[in-house]
């Protein structure tokens, strides 16, 4: 069964550095998402992306964050200047259609900012 893949599985970076988290959504999916989960807390929505533009973003997704679909397969999340509080699991997700269509999550990238 096709799945969403994320790389790297773990990323350690120093505060202030830029990081790029990579995702390959399921190939025939059109809607793409990033969520994050700080250790011990709930899964939180960051951003949704459709037709090469952001559909919706949360209050967490400030100017330090950006997303891009540089080619037909990859979907990236960039954090320009990481802060300690950006440490979390970052999950990419995709689905074929919107609203009530099954959402498929990747296994996440664990980002640790030191």
């Amino acid at each position: 069964e096709p799945e969403v893949t994320q790389t790297p599985s773990h990323q350690v970076t120093q505060m202030g550095q830029e990081v790029i988290l990579r995702c390959v959504p399921i190939s025939n999916h059109l809607y793409f998402y990033w969520y994050r989960q700080i250790l011990g807390q709930k899964v939180e929505f960051l951003v949704s992306f459709y037709n090469n533009e952001i559909s919706e973003k949360s209050e967490i997704f400030d100017d330090q964050f950006s997303v891009e679909r540089p080619d037909g397969s990859n979907f990236t999340l960039k954090i320009r200047s990481t802060k300690l509080e950006d440490s979390a699991m970052y999950f990419c997700a995709s689905r074929k259609k919107t609203y009530n269509s099954p959402l498929h999550f990747g296994n996440g990238t664990r980002l640790t900012v030191t």
């Binding site: 709930k42 949704s48 959402l103």
Partner: protein, 110 residues
């Protein structure tokens, strides 16, 4: 933003026991999704409930959506160690975003 409350937060039971976990809100859900998340993995969708009073079964798992669409439950019959995981409910609050509850961490001991 609607707040989803899940209970209990933690549940530890023996293999073979039955259990029920709950997801509640003060507002009406448009629809509700249940996910299971295992350590080091992303959430995996179990079911979506849409209609008030709806009951869906997935093998030993029974999902119920309250008549007023403000609550939902997940009942597991004869739990097995493989059922261990974090059970999350989530509402799709718009065409884009899911709002998750904090989850119930279930441990089934052999």
């Amino acid at each position: 933003t609607q707040l989803l409350e899940q209970s209990p937060q933690f549940l530890s039971i023996q293999e073979g026991e039955n259990l029920t976990v709950y997801c509640n809100s003060s507002s009406v859900f448009s629809s509700l999704q249940w996910y299971r998340q295992e350590p080091g993995e992303g959430p995996v969708l179990l079911v979506t409930v849409v209609t008030g009073g709806e009951v869906k079964k997935l093998k030993r798992l029974t999902f119920q959506f309250g008549d007023a669409r403000k609550d939902s439950s997940l009942h597991i019959t004869a739990a097995q160690p493989g059922d261990t995981g974090l059970y999350l409910c989530a509402e799709e609050t718009s065409g884009s975003r899911l709002t998750f509850g904090e989850g119930t961490q279930l441990t089934v001991n052999p």
